[in-house]
Amino acid sequence: MKTLIKNGTIHPVTSPSFVGDILVEDGKIVGVEPGIQVKADTLIEASGLHVFPGLVEEHCHIGIHGEKTNQVSDNDVNEWSDPVTPQLLAMDGVKPFDEGFRYAISAGVTTLNIFPGSANPIGGFGVTLKNDLDVPYQERVLLERSGMKMAMGENPKKTHQESKKIMTRMGTAAVIRKAFSDAIAYRKKKDEKGFDPKNEALLQVLDGEFKAHVHAHRADDMLTILRIRDEFGFQLSFEHATESHLIADLLAEKGVELAVGPMFTARYKIEVNNRTLRTPGILEKAGISDISLITDDPVIPILNLPIQAGLAMHHGLSGDLALRAITINPARNLGLADRIGSIEKGKDGDLLVCDRDVLDPTHRLLFTLVNGKVAFDSSKQELVL
């Protein structure tokens, strides 16, 4: 099965843009150069058009927070029964046929990482899916456990106040410290106590097998989790980080990854009062390049992934980093940079063909390819908008 894209302006992300061809064979990119001569099963003539790698959403709740219903019957995003639920797998809560996946295809998003919600200080493992709607769910899974979702700030406090398990930010921090301390104690007496899925999951985080992805809007919440990280030692990606521009220099020094957004919300919660589209640009100027941008769909529709990057550019982010922040950076954050996030030989055939720059919100998407297969063709389907 060969797919050939001819004469497009190719934006590989990891190397300079050029006009040329891309050959995809059996799902993988096998050629990226001008003048490829081969008889392909599918030919896309792309002269005058722009070709980008499929976009990568590092943080959303598509499939686990039912699109179009918002009822208990279809909402599996937060397991409110307990503030500490590291044993949960988002994979077990995802509805593979949710409408949201179709919206994601129309948005050019070919890989999605789906996290549990932010009600619990320790919420469970995310799942990363290739957005290939033609194959069974199990075959879409790229990472069964993408990373441990954790949460600071207003959400866990609000959720667990009623049951009096957490009343303050101090309480949230204490719950996290206790969970990790318990896991360390468990390791020492593992043979006596038998297998405990909660502690096993936490040990995987402490052992560096999985990263902690911590929901934190406010700078003080970020500082608290940095303190806890320094005490226990684990890898860290900040999720949301809408106040990260206030401590940009410190974050640059600490060298953590940041998944910033969504920045299209109103300032409705106190913890997002300082959210601004200027954040990514300020971080870049402070020397931070490990920035991904996220929509948190259904907080804002996934359609906005490239639009948000475009507006971050409007507010000071470089065009290069704006594009990286929705392709190679989230791929790297998820540990998948060898497979997705750029147009390179050997990588998955996840490609977009647009009539102009994908960061221009007026662009029209003409084709989406997932694993080399045409998943969206504007000449045959109407864009789901």
Partner: protein
Amino acid sequence: MELFKGGQVWKDDRLQRLDFRVENGRFVSFGTDLQPSGDTRVIDLEGKYVYPGMIDPHTHVGIFEEMTGWEAGNDTNEYSSPATPSVRAIDAINPLDAGLRSARNAGVTTVCVLPGSSNVIGGEGVVIKTAGKNVDKMVVPTPKKLVKMAFGRNPSWFWQGQKKSPFTRMAVGALLREQLVKAQNQAKKPEEERGNDLETRLLQELLDHKAMARIHVANMEDIETIARISSEFGFEYVLDHATALHTNPEFARSLGVPAILGPLNVCARSFQTYDLTFHSVQILQDQGLLLSLMTDAPVIPLSLIRVQPWILARLELSEAQIVDLLTRNAAKILGIEDRVGSLSAGLDADFMVLSSGFFDVLSVVENTYIQGKVVGGEWDEDAH
């Protein structure tokens, strides 16, 4: 008197190189190569782009305040009863709301502020300019008062939770009929017997065509109920949100009422918004309806008002059709097109100066003008 020279000015559905004069807060004249007289201040707009100040005909800014957490600044819904026709949005507007500041920084110069959608009759809305410290001075009078109503899931879901009627759509319709009959009966009484008729006055004005209904509605069954009740009692209305209206284009045309669509750039997270799509704008435009577009701010903050138009540009709509949604059409629906909504002599000098075209994601709102005065722009720290 000011003379703005050299800009690309959005007039008559296109950008043209035009100069314009402003005096006492109004546009005086447009033309090519206008020359200053004696004490005229000249503002150089060479390389800049000028568009009318944007109008959002359906928001809750000022009454659902940003940056105050969930409750402190929230006066959107008067939850004490499902019919609160005597409450007025103007009584709750905080002119210092951060949402208003970021609105004017983004080029929004006029907004309609409506009570929320928990009540079948929510109260009276008001149109204001986005700059000022005294709300009474910000008001743009509308020829007809605006009566906010709500149909469908929002009122029935909320009051069900309170264990109070209306539990169902049937009761929503019944409540509105009941209130309208009460107003009719009150109107029939001789003047001296009326006494305090605050509770029915607004609805009397509605039946008298001195007010129009602004109706929150999503689903088709609710749109049909509104049409039925309107034909029973005879009142003017606008469909707000109108999420499912495009699913029956012929019916939409037969209704012939204006619709204010949106917010479209949100996740369709309930059955009420099941049919939400950007395509609705094009489908209803093709049916000749008078259309506008809302952010429902702060649902979508007004600082991001241009994102929906940008996405609409992916469809088969002209730039003029899209710009009209947020300017001239919004003014027409509100009945204030002789005051705002286009760059025309005699109208308020409300406009925005952009660094490039409206549809360019990188175009910066360099200055927003209301009545000829700079009130904001992206130079302000609260512009994002």
